[in-house]
Amino acid sequence: MSVGAFLTRRRGRCGPDVSDVLTYAYLAVGVIVMFGPVAWLVLSSFKTPAGLVEFPPSLLPMAPLTAEVEGYDRPLPLYDVTLPDGTTARLAQVRRVGLEAQMVDPDDPGEVLRVPVADRTEVRSLQFRFENYTEPLQRFNFLTYLKNSVFVTVTATLITLVVNSMAAFALAKYRFRGRNAVFLVILGTLMIPLSVVLVPVYLVIMQVGWVNNLWGVIIPGAATPTGVFLLRQYMLTIPDELMDAARMDGASEWRIYWQVVLPLAAPALAVLAIFSVMWRWNDFLWPLIVLTRSEYFTLQVGLNAFQGELNVQWHYVLAMTVLTLLPITLVFSFLQRFITTGVASTGVKG
């Protein structure tokens, strides 16, 4: 089979052949590589702290089976024990001291047996530790952070869409002096990552009085050069005749903008909206600087504060990470077709 045949676009054969097999194999590997790590995260988030530490780790969340034993207020973990006479029994462990475990028969708890640690193996079952999700929510003000994140994301996206589309409209549909200069300047700012101008931007925010204010997180990032670039590219493909016709009908420029051009640019707007939601939801460094009062924290900042505490508790961190992933995953699964066709169509005109 030639490499070229593999690479050309058309197939028209009935029945699978080697290149098809390779194709699907590649795609299957892709699914494992792309989703695998995330799936591993999700599965791990249901494990007990002990389960997270054990090595080699088990794939599924396994936890020790426990039993209620008369005379003990907490449920005791069960073990399969090889007794001195060679038989195995399932016993409950009261306490482990060094190399010896004190165990009782769950049905006959009167007698305490001392069993060497080596002679016992844990009895485990598939258990999903949902407490990993509920416990931190009590310490971790999830709803407030969620509310802040949603507010920032939605407001920022709306503002971004309006402001960027207006700028793109001007740059795409008008000829005026200074147009190229403005476009270059806007593009040029693509090369300034926030982490580089952190302190100056913080100073500006401070002077404006937006420290510890969600607007300090929303406004600065609203004028994205990528957004302007994307929308302009797309608007260039909208025929000018439509605008001329509208002008002849007496429409104002503003009307042309929102009644003619914007609806036609809907695919690009959708892409920008999705990107904006993504950027804003995941935005971390900037909110971290601007927001120092916990009631204003967004979810990422809250999550980081949570996992940054001196005592790292992985089972909580993993669970909260999964929670942070969920909204974007849901949005994605609804809008994925927009995203994938949109990115393609606007990116290709580079």
Binding site: V53, R95, V97, G98, L99, Y202, L203, M206, V211, N212, L288, I289, T292, R293, S294, N304, A305, F306, Q307, G308, E309, L310, N311, V312
Partner: protein
């Protein structure tokens, strides 16, 4: 629009009501913000104490903002303080470096003498040189020292060394224990120069010259650093903390709590946390700081709760601080958080620690007994205004030696450079 008459009445009424409400509540409640971090459960304890304060002082509301230590206190707080956007009260560890931002509570205190008597020596740590300001009090005094997993010793059949020991001895013994019990690593140390300083001083590091300038390169410092290099090279020390951690500060408590290491060099603030997290999973205890040719010392330290100079309500801040620093309140705070008191009166009388486990109380007693063995150089270093530069330089450059980017000689040179550069810029 013919509804104008009706619609105009509503806004006016609402506005009037709003103004009345605002006037009524104006000056009613002052809100104070405390920036706090947690080692263990002290946030909850503080919240309880503050709730009681608020009940008796309805005109003050205190909000507790708990932030992570590394990013919130070490990174963000200095920036906030420099830009004037800080809280009213903060719990800080870099006492010297941030002292310029602290509020002098003295004019607002009803009994300054009480503060002098009980917090006297520690106030020097919080003040700019030569001032007599009273910025706050110590939330805890800390002493560094090693924790060991006694259960592992038992399982290996090795006795826990007692009496005066050296770090090399501990390295040997813990290696033995680790091998016998199949534990991954023998020792682990928190990733900060502050932790290393105690052992270094024990081995003869003087840190300062006669004029009080920092001279990092001397025999003692070299000796200890070489030991650290060797331990990381031969697998005695857990590399995850010094080599593998992201961010500047990292603690080794996770591996100790999970029983993956035999000895953990940290300090007394961990006792509360260990009490909760380890429970009866294994027996843990604190051992005295190992000795070197010069001393058997750890490093003193602690965090302080201080008022911030930029606050709009200094009088209210003073009231909250006086309440929290009062003897009964502090006694309860220390008792529940398992911290060593930074209050001379309580230190003498002893604190009734609240704990089910004898391990915790024993541990605290061992730490308390270590206070007497702290070397003068350790106190000097802790009180030194720019000690943060020293600790950071030690940490960062030594890590580079561990991974082979620098030799120890080059690293010591660079440490000196970094420290000098930092001090020069700060002045």
């Amino acid at each position: 629009m013919t509804k104008t008459r009706k619609t105009r009445a509503w806004p006016r009424l609402l506005f009037a009501l709003a103004t009345l409400f605002a006037l009524a509540t104006a000056g009613a409640q002052v809100e104070l913000r405390i920036t706090w971090y947690d080692d263990g459960n002290e946030g909850q304890v503080l919240r309880d104490l503050l709730d009681r304060f608020e009940a008796e002082n309805p005109d003050i509301r205190v909000v507790l903002d708990t932030v992570p230590y590394a990013t919130g206190i070490l990174q963000s707080l200095p920036l906030q303080l420099a830009s004037g956007e800080g809280p009213d009260i903060a719990r800080v560890t870099d006492l010297g470096g941030l002292s310029q931002y602290f509020l002098d509570l003295r004019p607002h205190l009803s009994d300054a003498a009480y503060w002098e008597a009980n917090f006297g020596p520690f106030l020097d740590w919080m003040r700019p040189a030569g001032s007599d300001a009273i910025p706050g009090f110590m939330t805890q005094l800390t002493v560094t020292g090693p924790f060991v997993n006694a259960t592992l010793f038992e399982q290996a059949g090795v006795d826990v060394p007692t009496g005066d020991t050296t770090w090399e001895e501990w390295a040997d013994v813990t290696r033995q224990v680790a091998e016998a019990t199949g534990t991954a690593y023998a020792m682990v140390m928190d990733r900060t120069g502050h932790r290393l300083a105690g052992p270094a001083i024990s081995y003869g590091a003087r840190v300062f010259d006669e004029d009080g300038n920092v001279v990092i390169d001397d025999e003692g410092m070299r000796a200890m650093m070489q030991l650290m290099v060797d331990w990381h090279a031969d697998g005695t020390m857990n590399p995850d903390v010094w080599i593998g951690s992201q961010g500047a500060y990292a603690a080794g408590n996770e591996s100790f709590v999970n029983g993956q290491v035999v000895l953990y060099m940290s300090g007394s603030w961990q006792v509360g946390q260990f009490d909760q997290l380890i429970g009866d999973a294994f027996d843990w205890r604190v051992v005295p700081n190992p000795c070197g040719p010069a001393a058997c010392t750890g490093m003193p330290g602690g965090a302080a709760l201080v008022g911030i100079a930029d606050t709009e309500h200094p009088a209210e801040v003073a009231r909250v601080m006086e309440y929290l620093a009062s003897e009964e309140v502090l006694a309860e705070f220390y008792a529940r958080t398992l911290f060593i008191p930074g209050h001379l009166g309580l230190a003498e009388r002893g604190v009734d620690y609240v704990s089910d486990s004898p391990s915790a109380v024993d541990a605290l007693n061992v730490f308390a007994s270590q206070v007497g063995r702290l070397d003068q150089v350790a106190y000097d270093l802790q009180a030194y205004r720019y000690n943060r530069f020293v600790f950071d330089a030690m940490r960062d450059r030594l890590t580079q030696v561990f991974v082979g980017e620098l030799t120890l000689d080059e690293a010591l040179q660079r440490m000196q450079q970094d420290i000098d550069a930092g001090i020069a810029e700060a002045q």
